[in-house]
């Protein structure tokens, strides 16, 4: 107990938020010692006394009775967490989670009651972070026993959401405002909601944020790591909403700001940025771009090659090969639209092969090309259907004459955006 309370005191003397946060961290090196330093009958008293010891009158906010009580509450809860983790042969996660909730709520209350200052926010981050971790482990343990549940994580999300409101709705002047904690907490919420597959809840957060923008510091003034994560999630949310223009904007920012060595994060961003750019700009990733990411390279590069060369069969095969991962990442349904572009490129080749300025091309030529490249003999009607869609979607300028069995292409710019 000693070392933790000592660190607590030092942290206050130095106004060192990170150190303060470490006193409730689950990775604290003194966790075990702390767990065994008292017992449940006297933990409250022991902690209160050791906090009280060496009263520092310079900080009335923490040394008066309410202040001490608030902290005692935190460390009693923390002790219970430690006890549940360290003093059992097999960790009972359900119990750890109950205690972890108490801990987080005690921390939230400390801020809510205006007892703590902005430099102490780190402790809120740490509490929420490990609350989420413990919730995940709890649900996992339950699922291992055959119970299909996400209840603990849902519970954790509700508590983190309260932490979010405590940050967002602080009215103190900006230098002393808990608003500085908003984005860290939001990112934690996003992560949780994504894991819970409750993405609509993320949108509620964004709505609450928009309603508060006027008093909010500029996003770019926040920690870059928080900005990148936030932009990434905004991008993915827009992506899933099929708002690809917005998605591109957010993901581009995230990619630009991302630390150059944060390989994993860049890979996550690219996972969504590549399909996005495929749709918004019909842009394909280059081999150089993909080089550092073996997974992305193995899945996206062959796909890109097929799209470029109009290789329908190869496209279908590569899409099917990566389907599991694409679906897991929720990009499958978007990548699937790349087939249109593959088809467009193939039709364009037919046009080019027909020779200069030839604007009338028999439907049969397209049929032959599609049948060859997809490896399936198609009916004329199906090829016409493809052509009709291409024209409808603006990939091709021209019309079909059913009577003559011809496609009549526009004299100029027949394939918009491809230089033909």
């Amino acid at each position: 107990m000693e070392s933790i309370i000592r660190a607590w005191r030092t942290a206050h003397a130095e106004e060192n938020g990170k150190l303060l946060a470490s006193t409730i961290s689950l990775t604290n090196t003194d966790l075990e010692e702390f767990a065994y330093s008292t017992n449940s009958a006297r933990v409250a008293e022991d902690i209160f006394r050791s906090l009280e010891y060496e009263n520092n009158s310079a900080r009335p906010k923490i040394t008066n009775k309410t202040g001490l009580e608030a902290w005692a509450e935190v460390y009693v809860a923390y002790w219970k967490v430690a006890q549940a983790l360290e003093r059992h042969d097999d960790v009972e996660w359900g119990q750890v989670f109950v205690n972890m909730k108490d801990l987080t709520q005690a921390v939230i209350r400390g801020f809510q009651n205006g007892l703590w200052e902005v430099w102490q926010l780190e402790i809120l981050y740490t509490a929420c972070k490990y609350l989420r971790y413990v919730a995940i482990r709890t649900d996992e343990a339950k699922r291992a026993n055959g119970e299909d549940t996400w209840k603990s994580l849902e519970d954790a999300a509700r508590i983190i959401n309260r932490a979010f409101n405590v940050c967002l709705n602080d009215r103190a002047e900006l230098a002393q405002s808990r608003k500085w904690g908003t984005y860290y907490i939001i990112n934690l919420l996003f992560k949780t909601y994504f894991k819970l597959n409750a993405i609509t809840l993320s949108k509620n957060i964004l709505k609450a944020l928009v309603a508060n923008t006027t008093e909010m510091p500029d996003l770019l003034d926040f920690r870059t790591s928080d900005v990148v994560t936030f932009k990434y999630y905004c991008g993915v949310i827009a992506f899933l909403d099929e708002d690809y223009v917005k998605a591109e904007e957010h993901l581009d920012t995230a990619y630009q700001l991302c630390h150059k060595d944060a390989q994993k994060n860049k890979e996550l961003i690219l996972t969504y940025l590549i399909p996005t750019k495929l749709l918004t700009r019909r842009q394909l990733p280059s081999a150089t771009l993909l080089k550092p990411y073996p997974l992305l390279e193995s899945l996206f590069l062959p796909l890109a090659k097929c799209i470029k060369s109009g290789d329908l069969r190869g496209y279908d095969e590569n899409l099917a090969r990566g389907e599991d991962w694409f679906v897991k990442k929720r990009i499958f349904l978007t990548l699937e639209r790349g087939r249109d572009i593959t088809l467009r490129n193939l039709f364009r080749k037919v046009y080019l092969a027909a020779g200069d300025s030839k604007t009338r091309i028999p439907v049969d030529h397209f049929k032959a090309a599609v049948s060859w490249k997809s490896g399936v003999e198609l009916e004329t009607e199906e090829v016409e259907c493809y052509l009709a869609n291409m024209i409808y979607k603006g990939y091709i300028k021209g019309y079909i004459s059913r009577e003559k069995g011809m496609v009549v292409l526009s004299g100029s710019n027949a394939f918009p955006g491809t230089g033909v």
């Binding site: 000693e2 000592r6 660190a7 030092t10 003397a13 106004e15 060192n16 938020g17 990170k18 946060a21 470490s22 006193t23 961290s25 990775t27 604290n28 090196t29 330093s37 017992n39 449940s40 009958a41 008293e45 022991d46 006394r49 050791s50 060496e54 006890q83 549940a84 983790l85 003093r87 097999d90 119990q95 109950v98 430099w119 926010l121 740490t126 971790y133 482990r137 996992e140 900006l174 230098a175 002393q176 500085w180 597959n197 920690r223 899933l240 897991k328 349904l333 249109d340 009916e379 009607e381 259907c385 493809y386 009709a388 869609n389 024209i391 409808y392 019309y399 079909i400 059913r402 009549v408």
Partner: protein, 491 residues
């Protein structure tokens, strides 16, 4: 088994410190006496299966210092204590905070004995008070604080991010918060432990398994019952038990065949489902009921009711209850999601398809429909429509008009100067020209159907649709159709 400690009455009350705020119980375990106390409790249980928080803490305390060799024994006596408390309805009245622990849970050493009997004594021999030497560290820290304070006071802008002040920190001496923090924890508290050790939760859960918490069993014997939404706890007298319900289903099946009265059947099925739910009946019969109701609802294009059955079925299948036709209904689900244009749920369902499911004929059909819609391949789509297995056709009916308009819009945009009427009939999966004509007229494009004199010598006239002129009308109808996807009872 020994008598549970709390039954040894009197003793506990004496040991309890006099200042304790909880109302004093005069007797324990007697049902008639407890009633008044239950009423006095601030928070009577909302449901019978809840545990008082104090009980949870009590259970946690029991195991805290329990020697591991005693755990099995402790669990048994704990279970007894809890079960007794529930049966005597004293669970909300017992003061768990001072309730004695099971004997086996106590360590033999003297110190822990003291601890278990709890509170009261002020002496705290184990308290760790910081020694004088500790302050050295504090003062060392103080120096740092001074210099950083000065630095921060010089900030020009008040709005600098507060944490910018601290570049360096000695926090890493105490804990590790790097990106691998969770991995370290995973390692420390071994992940993927599947061994189900006894735990106080088990003790509580097994206490719940006692008959006192079994779901109700109905006593009604009438086969038919009107559906009424429950607003209070179900009354066993109006609930039909499983054997009766089985007869009900047979009756309903024959009535449906004979009378085909959907509003009656739907009502009856709803009450049948309700009786199953309140009695917690989840077996192959339940699945059968939901499947039949879902199919009838499909046939009558009642998508709301269908979807309710469908989501219940999804739960039942996922609980691995044997029986039923999970593949057939998975295929419906895919088609239903196409109807609602729900892309994110569609993604989820694709993500969870098993290899076996991907070989099922109905599911393959539904997947083919999905990819035809996604790729705008209306030619294939309408072929699949005419060839839908099971009752997939009924589901596709719900969005067939919409897809027809989409296809027709593409045709109107791309064909010039016109398109043979027969081509539309065939491509859009109509059974005959008359049906096709009715469809086009319904969407106000009837004026654009024209008879064209054949250029060929055979003298036959051709009926065509004037594509360019029809396009705006069809386009408007199409966007209207996509706008109103009625999501009835969507989960």
């Amino acid at each position: 088994m020994t008598t549970p400690p709390w039954r040894a009455a009197g003793g506990t009350a004496v040991q309890r410190p006099s200042f304790h705020p909880v109302a004093v119980r005069k007797s324990l375990g007697k049902v008639n006496n407890t009633n008044s106390y239950t009423a006095a409790q601030p928070s009577p249980p909302a449901r019978r299966t809840q545990f008082p928080d104090a009980l949870k803490a009590y259970v946690a305390r029991t195991f805290e210092d329990c020697p591991s060799e005693n755990k099995a024994e402790v669990e048994v006596s704990l279970k007894k204590i809890i079960t007794d408390a529930f049966e005597n309805e004293t669970v909300w009245t017992i003061d768990w905070a001072t309730h004695p622990l099971p004997a086996a849970a106590r360590r033999k050493s003297t110190t822990s004995d003291k601890m278990d009997i709890s509170s009261g004594d002020d002496a705290s021999p184990t308290t760790n008070t910081p020694t004088k030497g500790d302050f050295n560290t504090v003062s060392k820290g103080n120096k740092r604080k001074l210099s950083s304070r000065i630095a921060s006071d010089k900030n020009e802008f008040a709005v600098t991010r507060p944490d910018k002040k601290y570049k360096k920190t000695n926090a890493s001496d105490y804990s590790y918060e790097g990106p691998d923090a969770f991995k370290k924890l995973d390692k420390r508290y071994k992940r993927h432990q599947t061994k189900n050790v006894f735990s106080h939760y088990n003790a509580m859960q097994s206490a719940l398994d006692s008959p006192a918490f079994a779901p109700i069993v109905g006593r009604a014997t009438n086969l038919e019952k009107r559906y009424l939404r429950l607003t209070s706890a179900p009354d066993p007298d109006t609930v039909r038990p499983l054997p009766v319900l089985e007869k009900t289903l047979e009756l309903l099946k024959s009535k449906w065949k004979a009378e085909n009265n959907y509003s009656y059947i739907c009502d009856q099925f709803k009450s049948l489902r309700q009786d199953l739910t309140v009695q917690h009946i989840k077996n192959d019969f339940t699945i059968n009921v939901y499947e039949i109701h879902a199919r009838i609802a499909l046939e009558k294009a009642d998508l709301g009711e269908y979807n309710q059955c469908q989501s219940q079925l999804a739960n039942l299948y996922s609980e691995k209850i044997p029986g039923g036709h999970p593949h057939e209904f998975k295929a419906y689900r895919i088609l239903y999601l196409l109807h609602t244009c729900n892309r994110s749920n569609m993604n989820d369902i694709l993500a969870t398809l098993t290899p076996a499911e991907k070989e099922d004929r109905a599911i393959l059909h539904a997947l083919a429909v999905r990819s035809a819609v996604a790729g705008g391949n209306f030619h294939r789509f309408f072929k699949l429509y005419l060839d839908a297995p099971n009752m997939g056709g009924y589901l596709m009916d719900s969005f067939i008009d919409r897809e027809r308009l989409a296809a027709l819009a593409a045709i109107c945009k791309s064909y010039r100067p016109d398109v043979p009427f027969r081509h539309i009939t065939e491509e859009l999966g109509f059974e005959n020209d008359a049906e096709c004509e009715a469809f086009i007229v319904k969407h106000n494009a009837g004026n654009f159907i024209k008879t064209k004199e054949s250029a060929k010598e055979d003298g036959t006239n051709k009926i065509v649709l004037e594509t360019a002129k029809a396009l705006p009308t069809i386009e408007a109808a199409k966007s209207a159709a996509f706008k109103k996807v009625d999501i009835k009872g969507q989960i």
